[in-house]
């Protein structure tokens, strides 16, 4: 276990959509400064887990603590002020707004206009293409550029924890490599990262801890090196360990 202070502490989390249980009692700790990844196939419950942490879906049971305080009952729009930022699956940039306007929205919870301006300049140095296209509608950017914008927008709230849901989805392999290089530099700036991916190979080089999720549960958890070399990985990823032949279905 990490000796560092746990920034995010999820225990016994259950997420239900009507009769369907998407997350079944998950425990998750993310230490300050770590990169923790959750990998698993489509429908494993990864997005439901991160959505519950971000306040988008209410948990049916369990607790979510952030920086020592519970997030229970907090309105969706108040979560970001606590220091959690989400880059959702599909990026959800505002296509009709300009790149600059998208970035300004990332700073909604901040009141230090000068600090925001300085941060935007810093982000333009980190993401030069966004600086060049600051006046263009964000819908005109390519998929990779939109992903950069979504990450930059999330960083503008100065989060302590950045959560990314499948940032490589729909991107060309070279662009994915760029996005991952970016995440590395984000982490070097002291931002803790919780990353969700289907493609496990991608996250091994970057992550401190990896959880393999399937059927709403973590089947395997450990350091990136341990998980990479664990012979049980495939079974955990595809949920073989828990998939008994279902009766009556």
């Amino acid at each position: 276990m990490s000796a560092r202070l746990p920034l995010l502490e999820v225990s016994g989390l259950v997420v239900r959509y009507g009769a369907v249980t998407a997350v079944r009692g998950v425990d998750l700790q993310v230490g300050e400064g770590e990169i923790v990844s959750i990998v698993g196939p489509n429908g494993a419950g990864k997005t439901s887990l991160i959505s519950a942490v971000a306040g988008i879906v209410p948990p049916a049971a369990g607790s979510i603590g952030f920086a020592g305080k519970s997030l229970a009952g907090i309105a969706l729009e108040d979560v970001v002020a606590r220091g959690l930022a989400l880059v959702p699956e599909g990026r959800h940039i505002f296509a009709s707004l300009t790149v600059m306007e998208n970035l300004m929205l990332g700073a909604t919870v901040r009141r230090d206009a000068d600090g925001v301006r300085a941060d935007i300049d810093r982000l333009f140095a980190m993401f030069p293409i966004l600086g060049e296209r600051r006046r263009q509608p964000a819908g005109q950017l390519s998929g990779g550029e939109q992903q950069q914008l979504a990450i930059a927008r999330a960083l503008l709230s100065r989060p302590r924890l950045l959560m990314l849901d499948e940032p490589s989805l729909g991107l060309a392999p070279t662009v994915v490599a760029q996005v991952y290089a970016l995440l590395k530099s984000v982490r070097e700036q002291g931002v803790t990262i919780l990353l969700i991916e289907q493609n496990a190979e991608r996250v091994f080089g970057l992550s401190d801890h990896v959880h393999v999720m399937s059927g709403g549960e973590f089947g395997l958890s450990g350091s990136a090196a341990e998980i990479k070399n664990d012979l049980r990985f495939d079974a955990a990823y595809f949920g073989v360990h828990m998939r008994q032949p279902a009766s009556g279905q």
Partner: protein
């Protein structure tokens, strides 16, 4: 020549009124996916406020009309629409009808259903001569007031923090909230703005017709709603353009149709509307990125 210019000015002036009304509807649809038929009652209540305050200085009457329309907009949002915020659009639509009927019947109960004359700003009924062409001052005033409100609204939406948040919320409300945009504040602001627009329309209509009656707002809103649909639901530019086109077309048809066909003017307008929707079902300026909202 004079007649042509007069007709065009008339068309632009009536088109502007419908554009303002359609914008009020479009603002609320943008952030809430609610087609607010109760917008008509904001117009009606503002008109009755002018009636109630008649005799006081004009700025006070105007202030009263705006205050009542904005307050009523905020009260309907808080009491009727906020509890239904996550409901599907059909429920919202039906509740907006309910609010509209309730307010209309309440007004009839209190003040009666008869027309009441109101000689508000009679000076605007004068004709003035501009470059040798006689025009009604009211039409010029209507165009000016509409233009000022359009510019002010555009400035608000483009240049202020809250305006940016409203545009973001109109496109993808959930993502806007994830970024910290306050749903209650943005929606209340949209209702307040729709109240201001309704009050402006109300004042102009009262000057034009010289009467107030409990159904005056609903009639306007039904036509303006058609405008927002052909403009593209969810797009503010589309709403303004659609409202303008419906109003202006109606006046132009009145002038251009042979006299015995003029009674069917509305039928021609709606044939044009049907044709627009046949070729552009998403409207003339469709909204981009209409996403599921919270």
């Amino acid at each position: 020549m004079e007649r042509l210019v007069q007709t065009l000015v008339d068309a632009v002036s009536v088109g502007s009124l419908y554009a303002l009304t359609a914008l009020g509807i479009g603002l609320i649809f943008g952030v809430m996916r609610l087609i607010n038929f109760a917008h008509g009652e904001l117009i009606t209540f503002a008109a009755y406020t002018l009636l109630a305050l008649f005799g006081l200085p004009v700025p006070l009457m105007l202030f009263g009309a705006i205050a009542v329309a904005v307050a009523l907009a905020l009260v309907t949002e808080r009491a009727a629409f906020r509890p239904l915020r996550n409901a599907d659009p059909t429920t919202l639509l039906i509740s907006s009808f309910a609010v509209s009927f309730f307010l209309q019947k309440l007004l009839i109960l209190v003040v009666g259903s008869r027309l009441k004359g109101l000689d508000f700003l009679p000076a605007l009924g004068r004709q003035i001569e501009l470059l040798g062409i006689r025009l009604q001052l009211l039409q010029i005033a209507t165009i000016l007031v509409s233009a000022i409100l359009l510019v002010a609204l555009t400035w608000f939406l483009r240049a202020t923090r809250l305006g940016l948040q409203m545009r973001a919320a109109a496109e993808d409300f959930r993502m806007a909230r994830v970024l910290g945009v306050r749903a209650n504040r943005v929606i209340a602001m949209a209702f307040a703005l729709s109240g201001i627009l309704a009050a402006a329309v109300s004042c102009l209509i009262v000057v034009q017709t010289g009467v107030v009656q409990p159904r005056m707002g609903l009639q306007l809103v039904v036509i303006a709603f058609v405008g927002t649909v052909i403009g593209g639901l969810g797009s503010l530019t589309g709403a303004a353009l659609g409202g303008f086109l419906v109003g202006a077309t109606s006046i132009l048809l009145q002038a251009l149709l042979p006299p015995d066909l003029r009674v069917f003017r509305e039928a021609f307008v709606f044939v044009a509307v049907a044709l627009v929707l046949l070729f552009r079902p998403q409207g003339l300026i469709p909204a981009r990125g209409l996403k599921e909202r919270i």
